[in-house]
Symmetry: C2
Subunit: 375 residues, 2 copies
């Protein structure tokens, strides 16, 4: 039995399997050429099936954000970085991962070190640690290298923890690829002086882990970086294409939707709203508005949304879709789209070849029988 | 066995059960006092358990947006409005609801009428129809009453469809409750002339269905309205409180989160980001920024977010949370929070009394065995 796109219920994210394979191949050959370890962030796809494709092409391991992502991914990889501070209940949940998994955590505080050290001791397992540095994004990470040195020493004093390296995330570098140079130079300078200071203090980091999709193809210009953790590159999205970190033809995921109303003049309403597409603005560019654009009609954007309604602005287009027509939307930020949906369809052309669940969606909280009432 | 809040894994939405009950009671007594039918929109909670509480207090039926919501809610109600155009695959899925369910759909096009008429005939069941009017929101709905008359006549000509009334959604009235008067007057005038025109044309609507949470407590001022469909009032949120449609103490749902980093000066990072809290701006007020505020510290807002990080701005506060501390966030838009999460915890004070799944989350798409690959 085979299905075609027009037989799918909407809204549903559809992935062009040929584009996906091309994106995976390109990243593998770039990192291989430059001797960089690729540890892709699975937050973008949350699927062991796609993680397995990344590993088959040479990824050294995987990056996760949540304990549930790590639990799901432990089925396909025995080398997992949880790039998130292991505090409170997270620590013991992570330490309970299968013993065969090499577990690395990234952290930036003494509290997080004590938390994961206690959990590692209780579970009697080694846990490797990256110290997170803030190199300009101002999200997490210690801003001063002196603090990083202190944390590295604390880790060395807390067996079975092991000091594995440093991590940073260049999430503040969102300019178009051509305009990134001055920010990357600043990043390079900060990185170089941090590594030198750590070295002088006797805690030279074996691994220097960085890298995002927007800066991906320039990762080899960053001195000292040994590993990168891009996520978005598997699917890409409107933001990635607009800043030039991929071509428009590399956008592998679109949200298939149906026109449900054309009653209000100048617009068409599709069934992909904030609950399917997410309310994510364009970043790193001033030249694009809206929350997504229509595949094949890039001049048409989703100008506004309700929870189950996306309003297409037809004012810049001659195209006039009719009620019942299907429309494919390139989302601004694909990671959010995946998180909002449960099922992905894999297509070649207009043929639906497969479907898969977003297996690591949600938190994997177990409803305790004592507390779980009826639905 | 009982749990306390500090034993919960985060991020997780927690509902104050006393506040929830009070919100449900208040809506029931308001609509009863004014002789309005209450048909609450379940998109806010997506839970049959809470829907049952609404029905027990006198709701005439439920409002849903998606076929899956209607399927889940058919377990607790036999009177369902799907306030969404029934086009394409939606029509046959809705017509397949249990025969014992009175099904009403809202629509605004001849295409939608033909679509649901064909599905109703194939399933051999009656389907009631509301004609959707655009009374100023400019989302869906016919802008001219002449078009509504034409659609009503088309419905009357398409047995087993039945013309049940008209629907509108005053989603454009978002001012604070005290400032709504001039917009409500305009709405009233448009409503009155529409009903009169329909009456003159021989298609007087038995039901006039409107109402949102922001305009809820003034619904009785709208002439001709027989039914209201508020959703948000069960939980309320920061937007509802800021415009005065509820008190701050009526906000029943907060997102319980944990401080995971304080490394960057002037901020604390919690584990509720866009994937738990949603990137929803405040609406209807210019006096509040950010994506949520901290319960007990309303001066502290979530100033920015990543997928799993919420950055609390501490610059207007003396409060300094520590890594590992729990924080409860009042979200800007509660409906999105519920959709992002799988499990809700019901609490009284700091005691966790129960948990329930967000049963109607997602789309309920069945993975066909032929297409479902491995995860």
């Amino acid at each position: 039995m085979s299905l075609t796109l027009d037989q799918l219920e909407t809204p549903i994210p559809v992935v062009d399997l040929d584009r996906l394979a091309r994106n995976l191949d390109r990243a593998a050959s770039y990192t291989s050429k430059h001797g960089l370890a690729l540890r892709p962030h699975i937050k973008t796809h949350k699927s062991p099936r796609i993680a397995a494709e990344q590993l088959r092409r040479g990824a050294v391991g995987l990056t996760c954000a949540t304990p549930f992502e790590a639990e799901v991914m432990s089925a396909v990889s025995d080398d997992l970085l949880v790039a998130y501070p292991p505090v409170a209940a997270r620590a013991s949940r992570l330490a309970a991962l299968p013993e065969t998994v090499k577990l690395i955590v990234a952290l930036d505080s003494p509290e997080a070190i004590e938390s994961i050290a206690a959990a590692a001791r209780a579970a009697d397992r080694p846990v490797c640690v990256y110290i997170e540095l803030d190199l300009g994004m101002h999200r997490v990470g210690v801003p001063r290298v002196e603090d990083a040195i202190e944390l590295a020493r604390l880790v060395l004093d807390r067996a079975p923890l092991e000091f594995e390296g440093i991590a940073f995330y260049p999430g503040h570098v969102r300019e178009s690829v051509g305009e990134q140079s001055s920010k990357l130079e600043q990043l390079n300078a900060a990185l170089r002086s941090s590594i030198e200071a750590l070295d002088r203090a006797g805690v030279r980091p074996p691994v220097v882990s960085g890298g995002s999709t927007p800066t991906m193809w320039r990762s080899h210009e960053l001195e000292g970086v040994t590993e990168i953790r891009p996520g978005t590159y598997v699917y890409n999205d409107r933001t990635t294409a607009a800043i030039g970190a991929c071509e428009w033809d590399d956008c592998a995921l679109t949200v298939l939707s149906t026109v449900v109303s054309t009653a209000v003049p100048g617009q068409a309403v599709v069934d992909a709203g904030t609950k399917a597409l997410g309310r994510e603005p364009m970043r790193g560019t001033d030249s694009a508005d809206g929350f997504g654009c229509v595949l094949g009609h890039p001049e048409v954007v989703v100008k506004s949304m309700s929870e189950e309604h996306g309003m297409l602005d037809l004012s810049r287009s001659q195209w006039r879709p009719r009620v019942g027509d299907q429309v494919r939307i390139i989302p601004n930020h694909v990671c959010i789209v995946v998180h909002l949906n449960d099922v992905i369809a894999g297509v070649r052309g207009s043929e639906v070849e497969t479907t898969w669940p977003v297996a690591a969606r949600g938190r994997g909280f177990r409803l305790t029988p004592e507390l779980a009432g009826s639905a």
